[in-house]
Amino acid sequence: MPDNNPENIPEQIPEPIPETAPLAGAQPAPLEASAVGEQIAPGAAPTYEQESLSSSARSVFIAVAGWIVPGLGHLFQWRIGRALAGFAAVGTMAVMGLWMRGNVFPMHSDDAFGVLGFIADAGSGIFYLLAHTIEKAGPDVSRAAGDYGTRLIATAGVLNMLFVLDALEISRGHKN
């Protein structure tokens, strides 16, 4: 029986692009250009190290963009669905948590739970930075809703970290 599940259908691998023949009279690329940052002669192909450095810089840029604005890392790679879902999910959860007057952990804390709370909260990027603008009254954990809000804010940050990792995997070609 054929397997019609779309998740199990292997993706088609594009055929390799054949190398074009060099133009007549063109100068060959210099062979010794392995040092990173070395000047490349005009018309010469970038070396493996330079391509790798460029790819790493792009991945870091995508990760930072995705962290600051949830979904932006996917948007730069034209993954529109994931970008919108990431922004909507992280944004809704963070804003609801702030409106419920959940606790936002500061950067400097004395205990380990405070540090972990800061790491989780800071994952939501712009929503962490604008926390006091979104909810001017500040946290109030004397009510149960404030405690639930604290959890929602932390979950929003951790969820955004998952989206950032996904964007990073896509940019490195490990995931389609």
Binding site: P6, E7, G81, R82, A85, G86, A88, A89, V90, T92, M93, M96, W99, M100, R101, R143, A144, A145, Y148, R151, L152, T155, L159, L162, F163, D166, N176
Partner: protein, 58 residues
């Protein structure tokens, strides 16, 4: 804003399921199926654990 514990849990379950569905599935139909499955699983597990802990509160 003042949500109850159950409302907060439903909100949490739905948004996390949405995120997981978009991260782990590629096609829309698969995403919807996964979202519904994860959402129901979140609720069932939470309610089950709640009832298991219920005798300890008395």
């Amino acid at each position: 804003m003042n949500l109850t514990h159950f409302q907060s849990m439903v909100l949490f379950a739905f948004i996390v399921s949405l995120g997981f569905a978009f991260l782990s599935r590629r096609r829309l139909k698969s995403r919807i199926k996964y979202l519904v499955w994860a959402f129901v699983a979140f609720l069932l597990v939470a309610i089950t654990i709640g009832w298991i802990m219920y005798p300890a509160s008395h």
